[in-house]
Subunit: 194 residues, 2 copies
């Protein structure tokens, strides 16, 4: 059964994803989670900030378990795993009708300049994501050309995916993200030994 | 001489770039632009929203004149022009110490879900940017492989640049954007014939 605390985190995640952190007030969370009032909220969380941090941590955990898990699947060829990972993000974007975008990208854009606590946490999120892609690329390395820098390629993949989700969100067109996913797979394929 | 109206637009652009639209109040703009009060502000702008729209329009005009102008430079080879354009965005990011990011990307991330007026305007901004890149790629087309879709390649370039600026902003490292710029140039080069 979902605890009250988890319900608050879920409501907050949904509100922050839709409206951003600044546009989400403790009052909004109280209403969405069906709490009786402020003291009820502060029984579970010290502040809006602590709630925001925990929402971010949970989103990255979930992304690691579901999205990034495919990167570590030992029974599938590493190149195929990377393609499946890209397809998964494209499909997710399609399901949401081009809306929503990346929770990390949105929060990064909103908070990097105004909140050092969030910036630091998001820096670690992108860093861990980069590391996980890099591990997969290391497995793929024997098939890649000798001049490929794995860390840089991992960052490039994340940048293209984040930028793609952003554009799909503005243009309300899942086709944008599909095209970027295909181009990204081709980009990696072009670095294979010929 | 800078008019009062222009001074307000400049102050607002700086504040929105640093703090986002939601975190920028009319009061902040009044203070930053040295206005005497609210009625002074409303003498020039009907609302914060109208001010925001005009800030965005001016930023895209400026970007068209300065950033995108290189794409139309007739004396330079189209491939070289594209590389210069990418280098310009990388250099801009470096100057700002990895901060700031793209004014369009930041606003897109903040406003796409919560404000249809801004989303529509940003959609047109990205569309015009895509068109201008596409025109350049059309000039480059005789040098490109036959299966390259120009519009898709233009979008991919913008997505990688926007994602790169976002990551550089979170990671506070201009090297991130440099790597992405180099990889992007290589991406285009890989689609050349022969």
């Amino acid at each position: 059964m979902k605890t009250r605390r988890t319900a608050i985190l879920d409501s907050a995640a949904r509100l922050i994803q839709q409206h951003g952190y600044a546009h989400t007030s403790v009052e909004d969370v109280i209403e969405a989670a069906g709490l009786s009032g402020k003291s009820h909220f502060y029984h579970y969380f010290v502040s809006k900030e602590e709630l925001g941090y925990e929402v971010l941590d949970r989103q990255f955990e979930r992304f690691t378990e579901r999205g990034l898990a495919i990167l570590r699947e030992p029974m599938i060829d590493p190149g195929e795993r990377l393609n499946l990972f890209i397809d998964t993000l494209v499909a997710l974007q399609g399901e949401r009708d081009g809306r929503g975008g990346s929770p990390f990208g949105s929060l990064a854009s909103e908070m990097s300049e105004v909140h050092e606590g969030f910036r630091g946490r998001l820096d670690r999120v992108f860093d861990r994501w980069t590391q996980q892609l890099q591990s997969l690329l290391r497995e793929l390395q024997p098939q890649l050309r000798g001049d490929v820098e794995l860390r840089r390629m991992a960052r490039f993949i994340i940048a293209a995916l984040e930028g793609g989700m952003l554009m799909a969100r503005v243009q309300r067109d899942p086709g944008v993200m599909q095209g970027i996913g295909e181009d990204l797979k081709r980009y990696v394929a072009m670095h294979r030994r010929g």
